[in-house]
Amino acid sequence: MEHWRKSAGAFWAGFLPPTLWLLAFFFVPLSLIWAFSFGEKSGIIDIDLVWTFENYARALEPLYLGIFAKSLWMATITTFICLLVGFPVAIGIVFAPPKMRMWLLLLVILPFWTNLLIRTYALIAVLRTRGHVNFALEWMWDHANSFLTLIGLGSFSLLGERFEPLQMLYNNTAVVIGLVYVGLPFMVLPLYAALDRLDRSYIEASLDLGAGHIRTFWSVVVPLALPGIASGIVITFIPTLGSFLTPDLLGGPDSQMIANVIERQFKSANHWPFGSALSFLLMYATFFGLAVRALMSRNEQRGIR
C-alpha cells in the first residue's frame, strides 16, 4: 500500500469529514460560549459582546467559589470511594476464573446500557423514606422486636417505640452515593486493564522472596498498577466534577454543584454570559487536573527509566 502522505486524495477523504464535524459542532459552539463569557446581557435573549471581565469577576465571588470548592470536594470524595471500592472489584475480576471474567465485566458495564435518568430514579426508589433500604431495615426491626418479645424483653422498647426510617435522600450523602454509583465503572475498567496487564510472575516473585500478600499488594501490585490508578482517578473525577443530574435529583437545597449553577444560568436564570464564564472556569480546572496527571505520568516514566 502507498504511504498515506503520497495518496493525497485518500488522505483528505478520510481526514476532512471528521475535521469538519469537529469544527462545526465542537469548536464553533465552544468558541461562541467562550465569546459569550466576555459579553453582557442586553435583553431577554440578546447578548452584547463588550469584552468585559465582569462575568469572571462575579464567578470568583465567595458564593460561587464556595460552590466550586464544594464541587471539588464532592468529586474528590466520590473518586476516593470509587477507588476504594473499585480496586477490590478489579482484583476480583482479574483473578476470577476466565469463564467468569466476561460475565463479571458485563456486570460492571451493564449500567451503561440504561439511561442515567432512569438509574437515578431507581436509586431514589431504593433510598427514599418508603424505599427498599428502609423496608429492609423495618423488616429487620420488626423481627428483632418480636424476638425481644419472645424472650420477655418486649415491654422495655429497647429498639424505640416505633421504627424510624432513615432519611437518606436529598442531602450530600445521597449525592455522593449517586455519584459513586455513576462513577464506579469508570474507575473499575482502567484498573482492570492495568491489573490484567500485570505479569503474575511479579506477584509470585514477591511471595517467593518472603513477602506476604498485603506486603506484595503495596510494594508490587499498587506501584505497577499506578498508571491505571491515575487514569481511573482522572476519568472518574472529571465527569463527576461536572455532573448536574445526580445532585439535582438526589441532593438537598445545599448540595448543588457547580454544574447545577451553570445549568440554571442557561435556563431559568437566563444569564448566558455568566453561565459561559462559569463553564470556562470549570474547564480550566479540568485542564489543570489533566496537566497534573500528565506531569505525574512523565515522572513515572522517568522513575522507571
Binding site: Y202, L209, G210, A211, S219
Partner: protein, 362 residues
C-alpha cells in the same frame, strides 16, 4: 557434594490434576540430594514446570507428599518456604533499581540497612553486576536481568534454588556462557539447584542428575552419562541425543541370553532375558562406515548413502540399509581433507559392536 543418604527434597507419589481433568503430574516420586545440580528435563507440557512450581508452593499437589529439608510443605505458603525461584521471565520488578530488586527479600526480613547494602553488593559481585546496582531494569540487557534475578534469589541463602527454564530467553552464545556460569555459581555457593529445561544439551552439560519426564511421568532418573549410554526406554533414548532404532522380536533362551531377530540385522544374541517386541538402538557416533565388509563380532549391514551433511568437525552420513529410516553415522573428520570422502549413492557398510547396542523393551 552429593550425599545419597541426605535428600534435601523428597517427593513421594505426587499427583496434580487441574480442574478440567488435565493430569499434569502423575504419581511422581524422586529425591533431590543436598548440594547437587538436578535437572527436570522433558518436552513442553510434560509436567516439569508444574513439579517445580509445586516445590515453590505456587501449585498445590492433588495428592502425595513433598518434604523440603525434612519438613512437610503441605501447609507452608510460598513466602515461608526455604526455596527461592528464578522465573522464566525473570520477573525483575520494573519499578525498583537493581539494588532494590536484589535487596527486596532482605528488606522484607527486616534486616538493618547496612547489612542489606553489604549483602546486595556481595550478591551483585557474585553475578558480576557489582557496578550496576543503581541501574533500572529497563536499562539492562536480557542476560543482565537474569543475573539480577539470580542474585535476588541467592541473597536469601535458600536451601534450594529453583530455576524455571532460565536460559530459554537468551541467544545461543550467551546461553552457552551462562551454562558454564551457572555451574560455577552452584559450586561457589554450594546451594542445591533444581533446573527445569526442555534442552537436553543444557541438562547433560550442567546437571549431576537428570529426571526425564513425559506426560506427567518420570521415565528415568540418572546421571548424564548413564542417561545417554543406558536409557531405559525408547522415549529417553530418543529424547536424549540421536539414536538409530530397529524394531525386532526377542526370545529368551532361559540361560541369561536373549536372541533378537530384526529384518535388517538378522539374529543377534544379547545378555538378559527379554521376550516379545523390542527395539535395538545404537548412537550415531558408535556406527562405523566402511567400503569393505568389516570383520569381527559386529552388527553390520550394507546399503546406499542417501545423504551427507557436513558440519566441519564431523559429518553426518545417512545409509539406507532397508530399515524404517536410514542409519545415521557421525563421522569425525579427524584428518584434514575435503569432507568425509564418501559420495551420495555409494554402497557402504555400516557396523557397530554388539556391546554398543541398546536393547530397549519399552
Amino acid at each position: 557434594m552429593a550425599d545419597m543418604q541426605d535428600p534435601i527434597i523428597r517427593i513421594e507419589n505426587i499427583c496434580k490434576t487441574y480442574p478440567g481433568g488435565v493430569q499434569a503430574v502423575n504419581n511422581v516420586s524422586l529425591n533431590v540430594n543436598r548440594g547437587e545440580f538436578f535437572a527436570l528435563l522433558g518436552p513442553s507440557g510434560c509436567g516439569k514446570t508444574t513439579l517445580l512450581r509445586m516445590m515453590a508452593g505456587f501449585e498445590i499437589p492433588t495428592s502425595g507428599t513433598l518434604l523440603i529439608d525434612g519438613q512437610n510443605m503441605a501447609d507452608v505458603q510460598p513466602n515461608k518456604r526455604p526455596v527461592n525461584m528464578v522465573f522464566q521471565s525473570y520477573a525483575v520488578f520494573p519499578h525498583m533499581s537493581v539494588a532494590q530488586n536484589v535487596g527486596y527479600g532482605l528488606k522484607i526480613e527486616g534486616r538493618p540497612k547496612k547489612e542489606i547494602a553489604e549483602r546486595v553488593q556481595e550478591a551483585l559481585d557474585l553475578v558480576k553486576l557489582g557496578h550496576l546496582g543503581g541501574r533500572m531494569p529497563d536499562e539492562l540487557s536480557g542476560g543482565q536481568r537474569q543475573r539480577v534475578a539470580l542474585a535476588r534469589a541467592l541473597i536469601k541463602r535458600p536451601s534450594v534454588l529453583l530455576l524455571d527454564e532460565p536460559l530459554s530467553a537468551l541467544d545461543a552464545k550467551l546461553r552457552e556462557a551462562m551454562q558454564i556460569e551457572l555451574v560455577r555459581l552452584q559450586k561457589t555457593v554450594g546451594i542445591t539447584f533444581v533446573i527445569v529445561t526442555h534442552d537436553q544439551d543444557e541438562a547433560l552439560s550442567m546437571a549431576n542428575r537428570i529426571a526425564v519426564m513425559e506426560q506427567g511421568v518420570v521415565k528415568q532418573i540418572a546421571g548424564p552419562a548413564e542417561l545417554y549410554e543406558s536409557p531405559n526406554c525408547r522415549f529417553v533414548a530418543d529424547f536424549i541425543g540421536k539414536i538409530n532404532l530397529f524394531d525386532g522380536q526377542a526370545k529368551a533362551n532361559g540361560n541369561g541370553k536373549t536372541l533378537v531377530e530384526t529384518p535388517v540385522l538378522g539374529k543377534v544374541e544379547f545378555g538378559g532375558d527379554a521376550n516379545g517386541p523390542v527395539s535395538l538402538g545404537v548412537r550415531p557416533e558408535k556406527v562405523r562406515v566402511s567400503r569393505e565388509k568389516p570383520s569381527g563380532n559386529l552388527l553390520a549391514a550394507q546399503g546406499p548413502v542417501t545423504d551427507i551433511a557436513y558440519y566441519g568437525g564431523y559429518s553426518k552420513v545417512f545409509v539406507d540399509i532397508g530399515a524404517k529410516e536410514p542409519v545415521l553415522a557421525d563421522i569425525t573428520n579427524a584428518e584434514r581433507s575435503m569432507g568425509p570422502g564418501f559420495e551420495n549413492g555409494e554402497k557402504l557398510w555400516v557396523s557397530w559392536r554388539a556391546e554398543d547396542t541398546l536393547v530397549l523393551t519399552s
